[in-house]
């Protein structure tokens, strides 16, 4: 006797905002009528924090701060113990997406040390002989659009051996001059990061130019914190010895889920940066870093 349990959300993209109603159906498909001891549905939003291995020893003192933070939680009973007729059964449900008190619903974010996740979970209790059935489904929360106007704050940059911070190697570096600009460092999440980079000249041919999107996650509190930067994605924008003097576009779409508006709370911080990485044929790696502030409008 097979039965499948599934949660179907009404919205195809599963994206909800605070104050909206998460609506959908619980879908049960079984061949014959099915006896059960109750079906319940729960919604939960959690922030999971995790310490990176290198900082575990140091910060055990404030272990508390690493506990998961609950953002939202509610539970409803969908059906009392009884029987479900054979065939396809759809049970509609609705959850208001509102918080109690002054809690804020952070935007969904899948990171390395910080994870913000919203789940729907449906449980079907059954008799001792049959296993309980359970199904969970993630839905995505987008935080409320920012009210204030976004100041784009473009930056332009020039990279030469002289502008580099690592001064030791400066003498061994070949000569080059790269100019460029980013159209905005205050970025809107739904719009790509754009800009241009021009290789004006370079003694050594260029191997590749890449854009590295980096998240900087900070866990902890006033007493101490762990700050880790990890790569989200790396996009190559130039391959090989590109034409000098020709502007090459910088263009990167922010990935979904792995990105959220820049977030700062008492317990954790999520920030983003972008690196323009230039590799030369003699394997020199030149990086220029730009902190980004992401927001949603």
């Amino acid at each position: 006797m097979s039965v499948t349990l599934d949660i179907r959300l009404k919205r195809a993209n599963k994206v909800y905002h605070e104050g909206e109603v998460v609506a959908g159906v619980i879908l049960l498909v079984c061949k014959e009528a099915l006896q059960h001891h109750g079906i319940s549905l729960s919604m939960e939003g959690l922030v999971n924090l995790q310490l990176s291995s290198k900082s575990v020893g140091v910060f055990e003192a404030f272990y508390n701060s690493v506990k998961p933070i609950q953002l939202i939680s509610s539970n409803i009973e969908v059906a009392k113990a009884g029987k479900i007729p054979g065939g396809r059964t759809e049970i509609p449900f609705e959850f208001p997406l509102t918080t109690k008190g002054n809690k804020v619903l952070y935007e969904t974010y899948h990171g390395v040390f910080v994870n913000i996740q919203y789940m729907l979970r449906c449980d079907m209790k059954r008799s001792l002989l049959a296993k309980d059935l359970s199904r969970s489904c993630e839905f995505i929360v987008h935080s409320q659009p920012q009210k204030a106007k976004v100041v784009r704050t473009p930056v332009s940059f020039t990279i030469t051996p002289d502008t580099l911070q690592n001064s030791k190697e400066r003498s061994t570096l070949p000569k080059f001059l790269v100019r460029g600009n980013l159209d905005a460092t205050n970025c809107v999440i739904s719009q790509p990061l754009t800009g241009e980079v021009v290789v004006e000249n370079s003694d050594v041919p260029i191997k590749s130019i890449e854009l590295q999107l980096v998240r900087v996650e900070t866990c902890g509190c006033a007493e101490g914190y762990a700050r880790d930067a990890t790569e989200i994605q790396n996009i190559q924008i130039a391959e090989g010895d590109v034409c000098h003097g020709l502007p090459i576009p910088i263009y990167m779409v922010f990935p979904r889920l792995f990105i959220c508006p820049t977030l700062e709370t008492t317990n954790f911080k999520v920030e983003f940066e972008v690196n323009v990485v230039m590799m030369l044929h003699d394997d020199h790696l030149i990086t220029e870093n730009f902190p980004l502030k992401l927001c949603r409008v």
């Binding site: 989200i232 996009i235 779409v253």
Partner: protein, 966 residues
Amino acid sequence: MAAVQWRSSGRSYDAELQRCRPEFAPVEFGDYHPLKAITVTDSKTRRGARKGSTSSSCSSSSSSVPPDPLSSLMDGTDPLSMFAAAETPAITHSVSAGDLGRKKREKEEEAVGADFEPWSLRRGEILARFTTTEKLSINLFMGSDRGKDPSPGSSAVSEKVRTRLEELDDLEEGSQRELLNLSQQDYANRIEELNQSLKEAWSSDQKVKALKIVIQCSKLLSDTSVIQFYPSKFVLITDILDTFGRLVFDRIWTMCSDPRTLPESFTVDDVNDTAKETCLNWFFKIASIRELLPRLYVEAAILKCNRFLNKSGIQETLPRLTAMIRGIGDPLVAAYARAYLCRVGIEVAPQLKDSLNRNFFDLLGSLRQISSESVQNQLVLQRVEVPEYLTLYSPAINWILQCIAYRAPEPLLMEMMERCKKLGNNALLLNSVMRAFRAEFVAARATDFIGMIKDCDEAGFPKHLLFGSLGRSVACADPPEPERLTILNEAWKVVTKVRSPQDYINCAEIWVEFTCRHFTKREVNTVLADIIKHMTPDRAFEDAYPQLQSVIRKVLTYFHDFSVLFSMERFLPFLDMFQKDSVRVEVCRSIMEVFIKHQVEPTRDPVILNAMLHICKTMHDSVNALTLEDEKRSLSLLIIGFIRMVSFGRDFEQQLSFCVEARASFCNLEAVLVQLIHTVNTLAMETSSVMRGSHSRKTAAFVRACAAYSFITVPSLSSIFSRLSLYLLSGQVALANQCLSQADAFLKAAVSLLPEVPRSISVEGKLRSSESFLLDFINNFLSTLLVVPDHPEHGVLYLVRGLLNMVQDYTWEESGDAKVRVYISALPLLAAMSQETYLYSIPKVDSNETLYGGDPKFLSEINKLCETLIGQVLDHLKTLGRDEQSARRQAAMAFSLFGVLLAHGDLRNNKLSQLFVNLWNLSHKHGHCETRVSVRTLEFLKHQSQQADMSHLSEAVQRLALQTRT
């Protein structure tokens, strides 16, 4: 046996003819005539319909003209045109879900118009042109994308992501597969395999794997080792990308067409959320591809899917992708990426010309990269010369320019040209411009172009290629009249200096067309001479047969007057360059085909005849024991076509001597010999008609010569029936020309040939009994014998006896009646011979009627012969009567003898009349006779008996009883 006595009934042919002639019934004009009425109205309606209907169906609207019985029957519209009319909108409006994808694709090609040369045509050309013998390698690194995965080694990854990752690892096990040492064919096969596995992965719902395959494939495009092969590699791999783009589009399309099919011109609002989400997912996935080139190619591949998301998607994406290509360092890789983008762009959004232009300008900007150090180093490493390297660009640049030039306004083209000029007349660009722009445009500025070509620096792109491209343009569009000669001179000056014979001929071949199109034989002759001069040393022509053939083809398309053609001194020497047999025959064949098609009037021009004879002889000499029947037949047809075109007018002797020569030349092709005999026979008859039937001494001798020609030619044929019929025919011709002894000889030869006729012959490859053919021939022969006078030295009816003897001795089929049938059919002849005046005669030839003048001895001789024949027939009837099975045959034979007796026998004779009645009874004995025929025969007899001097029949009629059916 000798019981029968034959008497032929006397016939008055004139009187019979009078009797048989139907009564004269004059038809008044305006009388209703069913056939006439139909033809008139028919032509009327047809004219009306043609005038009235502008639609393509021509058989519509005939209902407006009522008198046409056919169309009124159809009630106006015939079912076919109705069907056609119903089908056209059906195709354009409703698209069945099944072949949706295909239709869509057709539609898109339409959007650009039929005059746009589609990529599919270029494809094969590129694959054939850019080949390599070097070993290739495919480096597929399926697991490589793990690094790009957003959260490596994280324990907090959502379950879904983790399972997907695991799934991926399972699929390819992080395998880096490097396939080394692949030949070009292996490489193509591998790519095709990948294409297949892409489709498989897709259909088994492994979308991620499909994407990975596509990414890996497009990554191969950044590899420029074995650079000569790059264009072909591009073609192969973009095929995969096309497949992928189609798969994705069709999938999203079907997602939207759940309740009803999405219309062709759908908008964003018609797309449901799920489909949009899926589509968006694809774009996000592709946007996170790490490497530049795959990201670019894959996004271009699914460019069309932007239509599901928003209106302006394509419009925004194209310029962005165009700009993105700037990041590609290798100019060749970039050029091809641009070509792909243009290709996708013009397919999906032909109206967006801007990004095409942008692409081209960017391309111009990046061309200086070619001379950059890294490219030069690479060339040195791969040992590729710069000119060769530059040609690798042509397909890409040609394509881009073609897209731009397609229906582009003149000023734009001018601007493009100016830009090219500014870049120091880059030869590569110039070449592509000439290839891609409208031929009329190029031709009108041919002189300018020549100037520009001259200005190009010699080192880079080979100039003969430039002139080749120019030649192609001026060949299909006409440059201004006064410039033509200078153009040719300037171009040829360069062409003739090309050293390599292969390069030379490639270029010369193109210019031949221009020369033929605009100039006279003098110039063409010069060009041919130049080609001969270049191609003869070291037998260079051996490697250039296709080009040389094309030269001949082009000359033939423009020169249809063969006297002009052959008066070109170098034409035949040019033909001599085709020294490989198969090619030579091919060329001769094409010349002959043109000759037959375009030579309307018979010719006697010695130049043409000599040349054509030479050509035909070449074709003929290619026939050997291994030549196929079909090949022989087609060659024969061509040669026959030539022979029929030869006419010396009134100079018959010349014609005959031509036939003699032709016979010597074409002795291996039987069909040609047959034709020659026919020609000579016609010649003899023409002579006779010119002399109005009475030959002078000279013409008589000539006619005899014709007969002699036939007589010695016929035996060389192998087909026995053509020999027989030609003997007979030539005999008839000889008779008609009063050559009695020759006619005798022909007929005698035919008779003596009879025993050699095989029992079965092969007709169209099947073995058939020859009996019916033989019977036909003999009957034909018999009818000729009536007018052949007896030879004074031989006995009476020498030929008839001879024929009958042959028939007697011939080994007929055991179970057949053929022999007896011949006997029966000989009886009418003999009866006709015993008449006072014969049914027909040949003018100026005395037949037996006048020779013997109704001599009783002659008549009794005939009667004796008849009696023998009837005796033989009766004997045969007796043997047939012995068993049941042959009863039907017996009845049939008896009835046909009965018929002969009725028509030709003198039934006043008692014995004959008795036989007559007996035969009737015999034929009806077993009820095998068809009653209807019997009834009609009786009616005829009754009718006949009422005629004067036929009263004796009535008695016989009374004795004939109809068999009643029991």
